[in-house]
Each structure stands twice: as structure tokens, then as C-alpha cells.
């Protein structure tokens, strides 16, 4: 059974978003997503200072099985990308909500997070998909 932390926000496209104390938003993919993808072999991240839009493509994750687009859950500017993933993409499998984060956004409007799913709604969506 995959893990879905209560305090995070979830996009239907399987990204999670966490509002940090400094007002930035950290983004990664969910435990459910990494489990479905299988071993991750390659991650393509957005550049720092890149403008991203909610729901638009911001990166790619490739697993042994397939390539999947990563979508930005909120609009804003990318302020950091997790470079560790360049050489250690398996961190996404090992720790999807921790070391396996993808990028951090300075959001235009943190209120956009409320448009995302909460943990219960995301879990329900995943169970319907199965």
C-alpha cells in the first residue's frame, strides 16, 4: 500500500506539492506514482529561473517502463532543482516525499494549492484508477 502524507497537496497527474515556511512550494511525484512507474532511471528537471505554469509540462521522469511528463502543480518561477537526481534517480523510488523531490517553485499565488486534491481525495482517485 502506498503512502500519502496528510499535509501535502496532490495533482491528479500524480505530483505532490508542499508549502514551505518560506512561502516556496516543493514538488515531487507521489509514492503511488513511483510504485506504478517502477525503477526510475532518468529525471529531466526544469532550469532554475524557468517560468512554469500550473498544469503545464515542467519535466520528464523515465522509468524502466516508460517516460512520463511532470506537470507544475502551481504557477511561478523555479528557484531550485534537485540535482542529486541527475546521478541518483533511484532516490525517487526510495524516498519520494523526501530526498526524491524534483524542484521548488516561488509561486505567484500560493492560494492555487487549494485547487489541488487533499490526501483523501488523491487516494480515492488512485483506487478508482486501479
Amino acid at each position: 500500500m502506498s503512502e500519502t502524507p496528510e499535509e501535502l497537496h496532490y495533482a491528479p497527474s500524480h505530483e505532490w506539492a508542499r508549502l514551505e515556511e518560506d512561502g516556496t512550494v516543493t514538488v515531487g511525484i507521489t509514492d503511488h506514482a513511483q510504485d506504478a512507474l517502477g525503477d526510475i532511471v532518468y529525471v529531466e528537471l526544469p532550469d532554475e529561473e524557468q517560468q512554469v505554469e500550473a498544469g503545464a509540462e515542467a519535466g520528464v521522469v523515465e522509468s524502466v517502463k516508460a517516460a512520463s511528463d511532470i506537470y507544475a502543480p502551481v504557477t511561478g518561477v523555479v528557484i531550485a532543482a534537485n540535482e542529486v537526481l541527475e546521478d541518483a534517480p533511484e532516490r525517487v523510488n526510495e524516498d519520494p516525499y523526501g530526498d526524491g523531490w524534483f524542484f521548488r517553485i516561488q509561486p505567484d499565488d500560493p492560494g492555487e494549492l487549494e485547487d489541488l486534491l487533499d490526501a483523501a481525495a488523491y487516494d480515492e482517485m488512485c483506487s478508482e484508477e486501479e
Partner: protein, 353 residues
Amino acid sequence: MTEPRRTPLYDEHLACGARVVPFAGWSMPLHYGSQIAEHHAVRQGVGMFDVSHMRVIDVAGAGATDFLRTVFAGDVASLARGRALYGVLLNDNAGIIDDAIVYRTDDGYRVVANAGTSERVRSWLVRHASDETHLHPRQDVAMLAVQGPRAIDCFHEATGLDASALPRFAFTWHEERMVARTGYTGEDGVEAIVPAEEAASLWRRLTEASATPAGLGARDTLRLEAGLNLHGHDMDESTPPTAVGLGWTVAWGEDDAPVRRFIGRDALERQRRPEQVLRGVVLEGRGVMREGFAVATERGEGVVTSGIFSPTLGYSIALARLPRGSKGACSVQVRSREVPGRIVRPPFLRSNK
């Protein structure tokens, strides 16, 4: 849609934590947690695969040899008892119906074909069999592949059977159990065909001898690193063996011998040098090549037929159908990007055998 069939090892897979997926009409383990860890286990130690979905057909009767010399492009006439031959079954246009291993047994032959083509192969064989040929599809057996540098020791420890003196592509019988020095990983190892009711205990004994269960995912990355074709991807009924690197499996016969009229021969004579051939591609930038990606070469366009991220090499490798004579640099359309690549001759790894 009918429910996928289960091999005699289905419960063992679940007990080992398998992610089970439908594959060619069977419920098969894709992986048991980490496909890459399973891949490394086979390259560095020993892994085991349930390959009971493969189709085992015994061929007997006075017409068996003539029959196989007709439907198989390799020539079984020179095959000694206890030896096996890899080759292809062709249709009338010289397209590959399947690739298979034919084992010369004491009273005939055993053919092991792919799961995905199983019905097509069975009906093709039935159609061409004479009254003096008896086909016996075996539903009562299971097949396990034990592969890796430690495979022979592990199998010995688990079963008491020592295959170390067995040459490659040779096999022996231990009562009802057949043990062959064959595989699909580029590693040393054995494939054992055993009575179905013995499969679970063999699996458990191999586990105790520290064989790592490995799934279809690792099987695919291992075979591709070894440069081995997969039917339905790198070859099919539209490709002659000469276009997919399997021309060497075709026995044309000596010039002074009577011509052997195997099915597809006439069509194949006209396709000895097809315009498209199968080559290896290694990606020199980041990304993963996948089936269907376009490859641009100096001689024109080609297409990836299987592509993976190679766990052993740490970059993406692929088999691709390319214009004859292509070599050197190429460019692969990896989704929205053009990534430089290099054309090579498979295998991608030097063999450990």
C-alpha cells in the same frame, strides 16, 4: 477477454512479493520490487526466472526429422542427441513466425517456442505435420531459467545436479527433468523443464541456494544488453531472418548436397541482402530510447525496435531497423529532443560465458 493463465509458480511469485502483470495470456511477474536489482543479481550472481509460459511441444514419429527440416530454417539433421539448435520458423514469405530452440531427444525432438506466438506456432506445426509426425504440446511441465555467473553452482546446490560439464546448447535428462545449458540473458546458466508439480519445490530450493527471483522486466533488459532479439518487437512475420541479424541460423546446405526445401526458402533467396537491417544504437546523450523512436543515419531513416536504459552500462541502448550499411554517428528523436547516438554491432556487452 479470458482470465490470464497461471503458471505452477504463481503462488511462489506472490509469496516473493511479485508485481504480477498480464503477458501473452499469462499472469507473469514483472518484478519483485526492483527490476534493476534483479538485473544486477543475474549479471553478478544468480537469478531465476519462471518461463513456464513458453510453449513446449514434443515432436515424435517416423516423420519428425523430415517435418522439422521443412518447418525450421536451421537443419536438425546434423543435430546429435542431447544437443539443441536455435533458429527460426518462417512463413511462405520468409517472415519469422517465431524463433525457437529445438532439442534432439532420444525419441524425437522438443521445440520450445515463445508464449506470444504460441497459438500461431501450434497451428502452423499442426498444418504442416504429416501422418507420421506426432505433436505433443506439453501442458504438464514448468520451465525455470537459472542464470548468472553463479548459476551452475546454485543449481548444483539446490538440486544435486551438476551441469558444469554440460557444453553450451547441450542438455541432459534426470528422469523426467530436462536440464539444458541455455538461456536468454547473455550469462551462463541452465534452463530446466520439470514436471509441473515439482516446480514450486524446485523454486524454493533455488531460493534457499540464494537465487534471486527475477521478472519479465529484468529478462528484457538482460536480453537486450546481450543483443538477443525479441519476437514481436525486433522481428515478426514481416521480417526475414537476414534483416534481423539471424541469417546465421539459416542452413542453406552444401552446394553439392540436395537442396532442402524448408518453408520460406524461395522467398528468402530473394531477400539475402535486405535494404533494412537490425543494428545496435547506443545513446550518447541523456534520455531513454523506446520502441518506435526515429533514428536518422547518413543513409536515411530508421526506427528503434526495442530500447531500454541499460542497468549494466548506465546509458540507453537499443536495437533499431536501419538502412543497410549505416554506421558511425546517428541521431535519435527522443520525444521532443534530438539526441546523438552511435551505431554498433550487438551484443552491447561482452559475453561472460
